[in-house]
Each structure stands twice: as structure tokens, then as C-alpha cells.
Symmetry: C2
Subunit: 366 residues, 2 copies
Amino acid sequence: MRTAERRERLRAVAAERGLDAVLVTDLLNVRYLTGFTGSNGALLLRTAQPDLFGTDGRYTTQAAAQVPDVEVVVDRGTVAALARAAVRGGAGRIGFESHVVTVDGLAGLERVLTDASDGGTVPELASVRRAVEELRAVKDDDEIAALRRACAIADAALAELAAEGALRPGRTELQVGRELDARMMHLGAEGPSFETIVAAGANSAIPHHRPDTTVLREGDFLKLDFGATVDGYHSDMTRTLVLGHAADWQREVYELVAAAQAAGRAALAVGADVVAVDAAARDVIAAAGHAEHFSHGLGHGVGLQIHEAPGIGPLGAGTLTAGMAVTVEPGVYLTGHGGVRIEDTLVVTDDEPELLTLTSKELLVL
Amino acid sequence: MRTAERRERLRAVAAERGLDAVLVTDLLNVRYLTGFTGSNGALLLRTAQPDLFGTDGRYTTQAAAQVPDVEVVVDRGTVAALARAAVRGGAGRIGFESHVVTVDGLAGLERVLTDASDGGTVPELASVRRAVEELRAVKDDDEIAALRRACAIADAALAELAAEGALRPGRTELQVGRELDARMMHLGAEGPSFETIVAAGANSAIPHHRPDTTVLREGDFLKLDFGATVDGYHSDMTRTLVLGHAADWQREVYELVAAAQAAGRAALAVGADVVAVDAAARDVIAAAGHAEHFSHGLGHGVGLQIHEAPGIGPLGAGTLTAGMAVTVEPGVYLTGHGGVRIEDTLVVTDDEPELLTLTSKELLVL
């Protein structure tokens, strides 16, 4: 199973850091490592003993089905039960996720470890930082397949809406957004990847506009930023089109963003520094005098979260690896007039990046 | 504005606890206190100075629109910026949400406070525990109105599906679940309240079954547990019906659960202990010899979260107050055969509780 391979990779990290066990409590990290999709689950990964998966009585059946290869501990106090098991197993040094465990959670964990040690040596708790998130940044084949399906649903939903004439003057942003969401659900999405952005006219200049009752008008930019979730994996795509007819300034801005986006995609290569990838697109926009109108990073990793490692922006750090799934989404936003963003989801490979969002990037005039 | 009234209530709590300020970082608590719906926001509530709302550059416009009555601080390091402002304002004792702030987050906050104090006295950090959640347990009129709309959408979605014959033998649980979700979206929901549960036949005996490709068959129980989200507020309703014809054992189990649910609803009164409310329903089921087949608590608060205070179960604590919105959802689950759960969302009032989910609770045979 893929999840067993993922646990082996984390086990190697734990051993390297001198940890006897890692208590994984971030629910998405738990899902990644075990396949469990319920709302309460934790994993005690151990370097020299079998792993334990913990959940509560609501999920006894589900845990047996989804996590058949790890012993399941059913306990209302899930994390405490795993911590006690770690002490019984003689763990001396236990890793925990300090970016996830709350202040109250850590205090509770320390109490449990002290009580369970019963006067003996209390195990030391050591942060593992974002060890699982770092593994998650590089997708395996199962994950890429889920992302491909999620992107295909977003592509199909937009194509159907456009073909049916649903993107036309007179409709509201909210109507379009709800139809896009309903269409994705109908095509098999578990839900939208995030709150769908539909921004018409001057609203398209707001990077993260929430759809409202603004009416679409002839000559407007219409910016759609949306995605579908499939098996927990998120797609992310932005397309900007024009209603009725495109003015010269709209074509100019669009072509500029399209050129920057192509440059960004072309820079996605194994070993590329994320700051350089951002710069490849940003330089195109800056050279046209619009540096100040591109106010966010170029992209981000996508997977079980809509935003995850790696971040691709001027303040990012690190290089790309084959299997990373990322977005490339430059934009130019002219306050009061309108804005354009073009975004794809892609997978970094040893060769060309694989494009997962296949909707055309030619300027569409509907 | 309602949000200003809510902040005044928290200010009174802070003053009573000797805090100069409270740094609210839980995003739902921030939404409750300010109206802000973006993905990054925090509130510095102060007892003797004006409050400050913090967010980042993506939300400058949205913050101005949604939080017009609080000064907005735009900073990429949102929480750090508010912490520095608290130091500049001379705060000596700052409350923080220890059940929300992570171990890494607290370390970062302590660093910022130390740096900002510049050699002077560093403010003390003190947990406010779940002070905001306690306020949130009692809903105001705006919140109840949103819950009413969310429940009405769930009612209408189920009625439409039943009227169209979508709940019939031959279809799969997944098809029914997706149509219910799509219907709620079409009716104006922002999304489902949670992953919709559709459980047919023996699957209905699993309290939290995930819909799969199980085909609905004549004579099956069909359990539907679902809800709609409106303005961030969640509805929650379960109905169990029978396909084709009901067997005697199905009618018996159904009538038992319906009687327990009515007893639970009747026990919802101002001042009632949550353990007694749970017992009112549980005793009915136990008297029929099914105590072991009702394996979860009777209900929970609903609002900006699908599960929030108060919990109504054998291990709960506290009494009911007018304005609390809660579910009442007993069930009897016969492994391998089938199960029944009947759930409503209601508001506790000084008089009878107000029923928000209006779908009939007569056994429906479709």
C-alpha cells in the first residue's frame, strides 16, 4: 500500500533524528500516512515496534476498512491512549507536531506521559517540525492520479457552463459561482476546493473577491478561480475571459499575463529555486511596467490542502523536486478597471512539467 | 451592529479576569466578533483602548467592508503586528486562546512580545480558555435567523428529492448524497454542513457511514444525515425512511427512536442539565432493552461549527440557556440489520423549544 511506503519514509526521518516514536496528530498528515478520512484519528509511528492507529468508537468499522495494515486502538481519549502505549513500549524520545499541537494539547500530553511513567523516567517530547508536510510536498502516483481527476472535473465544469451560455451578461457573480460548484459536484467532486471566486468587471481587480450580486455586463472581464476536491485532493485553476467583446487594453493585459504565466510554467524544472521560478514570471510583468500590479506570489503546492509546500514566491526557499504539484498563477490587477489572472495546476517532472488543468488559455470572448 | 455587542460581552469577561487585552486568533471566533470571513484575521480586543483588527494585504478591501467599525491593521505577520500594538499600548496582561494557539505559535508570540518590549517589562500571557466559545453557545437573533435559513434549505432539498423519486431502489448511496448536496447548493447553501451521510440497509447501523456504491434495495432503511451552511451557520438533520414497504421490526425500532427523540426535545428547557436531557431520551431506549444500541451522545450545539458547545450527553456538564441552538439525535443501531436515527436542530427558549428542521418525523415509506 502507498500509505505503508509513506510511513517507511517518515520512519527513516524519525530514526535519523534519534526519535523512538512520532505522534502524528495533524488530521491531514494522519490521512496521508494511513488513508483514514474520519474526523478523529492519530498515528503513533515507531522506529522499533509496530505502529498504532488511534480513533474513537464512532470510527471502529471505518478504521478497520481504511487502515487494515496498522493495529487500531479505539479510545475516546485517542491521543492520550497512544501516548500511554508509547510509554508502555519504552519510548524515550517522542516526536510531536509543534505547529499543530496546541498549548493546551501539549500540557495534556505532558500530564499523560508523566502519569503513565508512574515514577519512572518520563519520555522527552521533541518537535518534528513539518516532517510529514515535507514528505507530502512530493506526490506519489496515487496522489497525482487524484489531482488529475480533480483538475479534469474543474475543466469539464467550466466547459459545460460556457457551452450552455451560463456565462453571459445579466447574470450575477453568485449565480455563476453556485452553478460552477453544483456542476463540479454533479461531475463527482466531493466539494469545491475553496470558496469559488467569480469576479466581474472592476471586481476582477480584487485578487480574492467573494462573489456577490454584481451583475455581469457586456465588455466585462470575468475572472473565475475555482477547483474541485476528489479523494481529498484539490485542483486549482483560474481563467479570465471577456464578455461580448474585448477592448484593446483588455487584450494587452491578458497577453501580458499569459506570457508571464508561460514563462513561469517553463521555469518549472527539477532543481529550480522557487524564487527564480517566481522571478521568471514576475520579470515579464515588471518589464511591461506592471510590477506593482502583481501583488502576490506566483504559486503554491496543492494536494490534501489547497495551499501547501512548496510556496513559490519572492520570499520562498528551496528547490523543486520531481513529483511536486504546484500552481502557476500570475496576475495583473488594475484597481477600478479590472484584472487578469491565469492559473494552472502542474506536476514537476524530470522532463517538461505535466499540465493537469487543460482548459485553453487563449483569451475567450463569450 | 451585532458584532459590536458581542465584543462588549467579551470585554466584560476580559475586565473581570484582569486582562488588558485579548488576542483572538481562532478564525471562527474572529468571524463571530467582527464579521470577517477571510482566511487570515485576528482581533486585539482591549479593555481601555480601541480594538484592532488585523489581516494581510489580500483582504484590505474585504476587511474595510466587513469590519467597518474596528481599526484595521494590514500586515503579513498579522498576529505579530497586533502583539506589537498591544505592547505599544502598554498592555500588562494579554489573554490568548491556549486551545487554539499552537506550541510554535506561542513561542513566536513570546519572542515578539520580548522584542517589542525593548528591555522593558514584557507583558504576561494568560489563557482565556474558551471564553469566546462560551459566548457563541448562546445565539443572538441574527444567528438564529441564519440557522433557520440553513435548516429550511435542508428541508426543501429533501422534500424535492423525495418528490422527484430520487430516493428509490436501484440508485447508489453516492448518487443520493451528491444529489442532496447539489440540491442544497442550488437552493442557496454555501456548502453541505459536513460530509453528507447516506446509509442504506445494513449500512444504516453504522452511525457515521460514508456513502459508497451500495445500491438501495426494496425493504431497506435509508438513513440521511445532512445539513446546509448559510452565512457560515450549519444546519443538521437526520431522517430515516424505508424503501417500498416497512417490516414490523423496522416500524418497532422507528417508533422507539421517535419516542426517545420526542422525550429529548421535551426536555430542552432553560436551566435543564445537559446530562438530564440526554437521559430523558436514553431512558426510553434503555427501557426497551436497547441501551447498548445507542452508542453516542444525544446532541450538540450548532452554529459557526457543526459541533460546538453545549455537548448533550452522559459526560456533558452545564445547563441550558435561552438562545442555545442544539441537536437532538438519538439512534438505535442493530449491527448487520439496520439502524434508525432521528435528528432535529432546535433553539432553546423560555417557552417551548423552537424547531428549526421542519421535515415530518412520521415514518416515510417511499
